[in-house]
């Protein structure tokens, strides 16, 4: 993620970019994220000021100064948004602008009353109401819906992973048992000592004093604060034994956490059983391609989505590069077991990748493919809407496998053979293919996009010229895709003006249902997003809400 997009060099466009809500897309910048977080923080503080003024009336003046500062920030924000808006005339009447205005208005009116400008808010009751209306600022959160949603998901996953790593559940149990023992023990000794002995003398004569002395017994084992009664001494002895047990268990737990941490160092984080992943990529199976597939997918998605690897030896998988594996988790189990697929949150995933399993002794390619096909069927059976990519070893299985809609099967051997022939026919071409197949910041890939509204009804030639002159984003229009929605890129033509493409020039007028095949550095951001594509998850790297 860049701090700023330098391609938008004018002050207004840079401001617009910063003020636009962060969308987790390639075009969103870090400055935009910081601005969003700052405004969210201001909204939270300003809303908390309302109850704070009531709870702590003595600090009323300080709170009011804070309120004025925050309102000033909101006024500046409003001004900047207005200045950077694409249409400055209509901007004040947009929903978000009205919300921003409502957020500023109550404080401005109260200030105006203070300055005796308006007589509108003269009654105290109306003033209070105006102050309460500041709560309407919560509406400002609507703008940051996507960001807050994603941050909450990340926070939840992060917390559950930390809990799993530190075995917080176990420690919580021990802590609760210790607390109960402490409270019960302190009360028991206090009542024993105060009823059976001198009520005003001794280390357990005071109620809170007995709590302090009991905790010392429990955790340090120092028994110099001896109770005076026999019953009290018996109780302290029991507490001493309990204290030794607790200390042992806690020490053991801490050592176990440290050992586990050392053992798992350099390995992929295991998915906590109670953690729920959403909008993640599932990779089923493990072979020598796993690391590079993770690397490529991560490079394409810029680390925005979690990747979950499901395989039998998940606890042994190594995280080769910590930066890439930051959002990678592993789940142990066989994908043929539907409970494992449930644990992988298959229904909330965006994509499934099935890798061929490693060769075992006596395995044929057919055996390997049969395993992959069975896992594919298991996934399709669980969720038939999710796009699946499966790796096969032999092209002989492609025919039977093609009966499954929505599943793409990749047989690398086929591509290798063809690429070797291409290298003979067009020397140097392998590098071009390699560049088109690799996700890096400085290489282009193929994408399919809906026809931009402005190009509907225009010719393919017009669209080519449009993209050639579009300097903000480097895009080459390579072809047209007229496939049915459920079978993407199955009915397409590259270089359609060639007679051999089979398309008549007259047919090269772009329709709304067409898709364009483009070569671009990232998913083009200028085009409107088809809501159906979002639902079908055909678009991963573009998450703007329409």
């Amino acid at each position: 993620m860049k701090l700023l997009n330098l391609k938008n060099s004018s002050l207004r466009s840079t401001l617009h970019e910063i003020m636009e809500p962060f969308q987790y897309s390639e075009s969103s910048t870090r400055a935009s994220l910081f601005m969003d977080l700052f405004i969210i923080l201001c909204i939270l503080i300003s809303c908390l000021l309302i109850p704070a003024e009531i709870i702590f009336p003595s600090h009323k003046n300080f709170f009011w100064v804070l309120e004025i500062i925050i309102t000033t920030i909101f006024i500046v924000e409003y001004g900047l948004r207005w200045y950077s808006a694409s249409n400055r005339i209509t901007y004040p009447f947009t929903v978000y602008a009205l919300i921003d205005f409502i957020a500023i208005l109550p404080t401005v009116l109260v200030l105006a009353e203070g300055l005796m400008i308006f007589s509108l808010a003269r009654s105290v009751r109306l003033l209070r109401l105006l102050r309460l209306l500041r709560l309407l600022r919560l509406l400002k959160f609507i703008r940051y819906g996507v960001l807050i949603f994603r941050l909450l998901i990340d926070f939840r996953i992060c917390v559950s992973t930390m809990r799993e790593k530190t075995r917080a559940g176990q420690l919580e149990k021990i802590f609760i048992y210790t607390l109960i023992t402490w409270v019960v023990g302190s009360n028991l000794i206090y009542f024993t000592e105060s009823h059976l002995n001198h009520p005003t003398w001794g280390p357990y004569a005071g109620y809170w004093q007995s709590y302090w002395n009991t905790v010392i017994i429990l955790f340090s084992g120092i028994e110099d604060k001896a109770p005076l009664s026999l019953a009290g001494r018996i109780e302290v002895t029991v507490l001493l034994i309990a204290g030794i047990c607790f200390a042992g268990v806690i020490t053991g737990e801490i050592v176990s956490i440290l050992v586990r941490h050392m053992q798992r160092s350099g390995k992929i984080t295991l998915k906590p059983p109670d953690s729920k992943l959403e909008r993640h990529i599932i990779i089923i199976g493990q072979n020598k391609h796993l690391h590079n597939v993770i690397k490529q997918v991560n490079a394409a998605l810029k680390g925005r989505h979690y990747i979950l690897v499901v395989c039998r030896n998940a606890d042994e998988l190594k995280a080769a590069e910590p930066l890439i594996y930051k959002k990678v988790m592993a789940l142990q189990g066989d994908a043929l077991d539907s409970r494992v697929l449930d644990k992988a949150n298959l229904n909330d995933a965006l994509r499934v990748v099935l890798l061929s399993s490693n060769f075992r002794a006596g395995d044929s390619t057919q055996d390997i493919d049969n395993r992959t096909l069975m896992k594919t069927l298991a996934v399709v059976g669980k969720n038939h809407n999710i796009p699946i990519v499966a790796e096969l070893q032999s092209e002989s299985n492609l025919h039977s496998a093609s009966t499954l809609d929505g599943v793409e099967f990749v047989v690398s051997r086929l591509f290798g053979e063809r690429l070797a022939s291409q290298a003979v026919l067009n020397p140097g071409v392998t590098e071009v293919y390699d560049s088109l197949m690799t996700f890096t910041d400085d290489s282009s890939e193929f994408y399919t996009i809906p026809v931009p509204k402005d190009l509907i009804g225009k010719t393919f030639k017009d669209a080519q010229i449009f993209f050639l002159d579009l300097d903000e984003e480097a895009i080459v229009l390579a072809g047209i895709d007229r496939s049915p929605p459920n079978r993407p890129t199955t009915l397409f033509k590259l270089s359609p003006y060639s007679k051999k493409s089979g398309i008549m020039t007259a047919d090269l007028r772009l329709h709304e249902r067409d898709r364009l095949i483009v070569i671009a550095y990232e998913q083009p951001t200028f085009s409107d997003v088809d809501i159906n594509d979002l639902w079908r998850s055909n678009i991963l790297s573009w998450e703007q809400t329409t």
Binding site: N292, S412, A423, V432
Partner: protein, 276 residues
């Protein structure tokens, strides 16, 4: 080298070493291309028994080009001479099926041996382990095809953009009626023009190809083979704003998607440009 037939002198042919299960598809793919269907292929077989016990690896005769099988060790000069390596256009070194996952060393040495015999030959090596790719850079191997890498990249591509695999499949096949990527040389008539200008003129006349990028080659790479890999050709697919306006010289190449290699790109450019 024993019991080999005396082969007629060949020229511009393709020599395939270390034949494995991929050889049949490669030869058939080569002969599918209309422009290449007359290109002869020489298969250099090291393990005669393995080859003969796998008849499904044997390419089917296309009827036009010759497919000659020679038995022998490609490291032997005589064997390479018999395959007329000095006049060959390209050499494909496949992974030796007997060497398993460690075949890369032998394949690379074979490529070096072939390059020594004929530095002009275009060598294409099949790589088993992608980790070895970097070591090949210094060995003058022209192109490397690694199945593992292709698999990884295609899986990732399909994961991000469903259906994109079909585009690569379409581009890679040489069958009639499918497009391919070609790298035609810039012609002197259009030398000095930029990518933007060339593309615009070609679009205006609805040229039967799409220009997607260019390769800037230093002039010396055209004349010398020695140390050619030391001089890095800079290729640019989908140039950005500054790249679009970069003036191209006659030594540069264009990267185009077309159904056939156009006879002259300059013709389309000049007709799109109109009379001066």
């Amino acid at each position: 080298m024993t019991q080999n037939p005396v082969i007629p002198p060949l020229s511009g042919h393709v020599v395939i070493c270390n034949c494995n299960e991929k050889v049949r598809a490669i030869v058939e793919e080569l002969h599918k291309d209309t422009a290449q269907k007359h290109r002869d292929v020489v298969l250099l077989i090291q393990d005669r028994n393995l080859w003969q016990s796998n008849p499904d690896w044997h390419p089917r005769p296309s009827g036009v080009a010759k497919v000659i099988t020679l038995y022998g060790n490609p490291f032997d000069k005589e064997c390479l001479d018999a395959a007329c390596i000095k006049d060959a256009n390209a050499a494909i070194i496949l992974a030796d099926p007997n060497q398993g996952q460690l075949a890369d060393a032998q394949s690379t040495l074979m490529a070096v041996a072939i390059e020594k015999q004929n530095p002009q030959v275009h060598t294409i090596q099949e790589l088993i382990l992608s980790i070895n790719r970097d070591h090949l850079k210094a060995m003058n191997v022209d192109e490397v095809v690694c199945l593992g890498e292709i698999s990884e990249k295609l899986i990732a591509q399909s994961c991000i953009t469903p259906g994109v695999k079909n585009i690569f499949e379409d581009l890679l096949t040489t069958a009639e009626g499918t497009p391919q990527i070609f790298l035609p040389l810039m012609e002197p008539a259009i030398s000095g023009m930029s990518f933007r200008e060339i593309s615009r003129y070609c679009i205006q006349v609805e040229a039967p190809f799409i220009i997607i990028g260019f390769i800037i080659s230093p002039p010396e790479t055209l004349f010398t083979r020695e140390g050619r890999n030391m001089i890095k050709n800079s290729f640019l697919v989908n140039p950005k704003k500054t790249g679009k306006d970069l003036r191209l010289s006659e030594y540069d190449k264009l990267i185009i998607i077309a159904y056939d290699l156009p006879l002259s790109i300059a013709e389309y450019v000049l007709s799109g440009k109109g009379p001066p």
